[in-house]
Amino acid sequence: MAEAVIRDDTAQDLPTNRARRSRRQYAAPPFLSIWAVIGGAAVIVLIGAYPYYGSSAYVLSLLGKFLCFAIFALSIDLIWGFAGILSLGQAVYFGIGAYVVALSLKLNYALDHPTRYGGKIPDFMEWNSLTAVPDWMMPLYSYSVAITIALIFPTILAFLFGVITFKRHIYGVYCAVITLAESLILQEFIIEYQGYTGGFNGITDYSNYATPGFLWFILFLVVVFFIVARALTHSRVGTVLKSIRDNDVRAEFMGYNVANYRIFVFCVSAFMAAAAGALYAAWVGIISFLDAGPVFSIEGVIWTAVGGRGTLIGPFVGAFLVKGAEFFLSGALAQWWQIIVGGLFIFVVLVLRDGIVGSIGNWLRARKKKATLHQVVEESDRKAHDLQREWRPAGEPETDGSI
């Protein structure tokens, strides 16, 4: 076993070399590079300290929103950038998480704030001539139950979806189309059953938590999710996932259970999206059917693509840039904003194929290796990059400038 690991006829077969290789040591990059830690800490401090140096409640609410969007984009990046599953229905999980939490908050809010007619039920229920909260909604009065449902139910849904589709090698276009239909149906469901969901108006007017304390909580969860994602993609599982993304047939022939890996990462991603939705609902205090619809799903995909899929910083950069631009430009360019978004889709696909972070990464690598940008892009046959892709056996000599 030990001898059969790597055979390289061209290399000098020195005994030391052989011994090193047989132990299968790989020069894996550090879990987080020092620059990532410093830069990340700077950004966290910059965002987290906003309540101290800034006074605008509007900007504060935007920061919380963007952080939730960033988690959502990260969940898309996990499945799309690292496992090659393009889901156009990720907002389903975001939306369910958001709706469960919003319903729970609204129910409790209605206890203290009776409606105009004196009922202690949410106002949208009264408008739809419900006289009491339905029995199956009772558990949502407890926050802990609501949060558990908001996180677990989408994960179970994702698991069922994964079992049905991935086990039968349904992915790529088929997966994209089915998830798209899934979110369209959820949207229609929410609109139709307005007695329970608020319909077109969504759920509004409940006590939300747009406080600095909650911002720090969201920030903390962002860091946790980032580290989880880093650990996942940096591990053996992550390597297998990337091999599935690059060539699923070959991965299957090598003996990996491709479907199970896909289901696993899909569930993790759904959990993250649900958490983002739950945080979002508690932060902004208004949830509508649009937050569960296909348009929002694809928005998340474009944030990931702009930032750079296959990188973990990309989703954050993309969400902040695109969403930030929307908030600051759509006032001035209301009519033209949609055209800019459409153009962004085309631009990312045609020109900026690796996204912002990916392109910068390419450029840095090209400098380091003294190669042209083109060579670097060619080298990794995928557009999605991560520094950790550069695994090489410990005994391998340094590259001599050529790739």
């Binding site: 393009l86 049905i164 589709t165 086990k167 039968r168 090698h169 349904i170 790529g172 276009v173 088929y174 994209a176 189309v177 089915i178 798209l180 239909a181 899934e182 369209l184 149906i185 229609e188 469901f189 139709e192 059953y193 047939v249 296909p294 694809i298 995909v301 474009i302 693509a305 009519q335 033209w336 949609q338 055209i339 978004v341 459409g342 153009g343 962004l344 889709f345 085309i346 990312v348 696909v349 045609l350």
Partner: protein
């Protein structure tokens, strides 16, 4: 109850026809050219607006059909030359790019025509209707839709299987490199087939305009329905379009009647998911050797 279900079954024919009309263009673009065209709904929408303009100028649906074919065909030409031709080898990214095209089309049309709805009347000879079973009247226009659906399927069959162009298209689809070696201009074939599919989407818009108010967001549900038809029936097969459309249309009509619209859609969706679990590439799917 049973009689009303039978009535629903007959009125389901027109739903099936609508699905097929909407899906035929996509069957050509997605099934033959291999482009995941998310702007399909918006192409239908542009076709419908073309019909609205033709109607304003005094024409009727029968005149609007060829006009819409040309207008949306030209639009398809622009999209193919401008964007799609660079990304044929990355199908999932054609999805993103064409989604962007769809957003742009929606916004531009809204800027030009304003947010209000347009209504297109059916041609005079197709007004009125007759009674089949029970009391539900069956409008002539629905009959017209069924005829159009059949004609469109026959047209695509003829173009793909009986013409020289279709032969080249099938050759390119089977083996692009060898076809190129044999002297077929594959890039030109790609372009023409995309134009043909876009034109069919335009025809769908023109035909469907009288049964629905014309707005900028009318297309998206049609696009999703079309994708569902293709996924169930099998991509790249005309029998698939017919079968998928028939199954989805009939199930949805009857289930929507028994329960309600949304439950009907949900059940149809579950039905499709279960169906493709059994036949992953659709009922008439084409299993390629890799």
């Amino acid at each position: 109850m049973l009689q009303s279900i039978i009535t629903q079954f007959f009125s389901g024919f027109s739903v099936v026809a609508i699905l097929i009309i909407a899906a035929v263009g996509l069957a050509v673009i997605f099934g033959v050219a291999g482009v995941i065209n998310m702007a399909h709904g918006e192409m239908i929408m542009v076709g419908a607006y073309t019909a609205a303009i033709v109607g304003k100028l005094g024409g009727n649906t029968l005149l609007a059909i060829p006009v819409a074919f040309v207008v949306v065909g030209l639009l398809g030409l622009a999209i193919e030359r401008g964007i799609i031709q660079w990304i044929y080898d990355r199908p999932l990214e054609t999805l993103l790019a064409t989604w962007g095209v769809g957003i742009i089309l929606q916004t531009v049309i809204k800027l030009i025509f304003g947010p209000e709805l347009y209504y297109v009347g059916a041609p005079k000879i197709l007004e009125g209707g007759f009674r089949v079973i029970g009391r539900l009247p069956f409008p002539y226009y629905r009959l017209f839709l069924i005829v159009v659906a059949i004609l469109l399927l026959l047209l695509v069959y003829y173009v793909i299987f009986k013409t020289d162009f279709g032969l080249k298209v099938r050759a390119v689809r089977r083996n692009r490199v060898i076809s190129g070696c044999l002297g077929i201009d594959t890039a030109r074939i790609d372009m023409l087939i995309f134009i043909f599919g876009s034109g069919l989407a335009g025809v769908a818009g023109a035909v469907l305009a009288p049964i629905k108010s014309v707005s900028t967001t009318m297309g998206f549900p049609y696009a999703v329905d079309s994708y569902m038809v293709l996924v169930l029936g099998g991509v790249g097969s005309l029998w698939g379009v017919l079968t998928g459309g028939a199954l989805i249309g009939e199930t949805e009509t009857i289930l929507s009647f028994v329960f309600n619209n949304v439950i009907g859609k949900l059940l149809v969706f579950l039905f499709i998911v279960i169906a493709i679990r059994i036949v992953p590439r659709g009922i008439f799917g084409y299993y390629e050797r890799r």
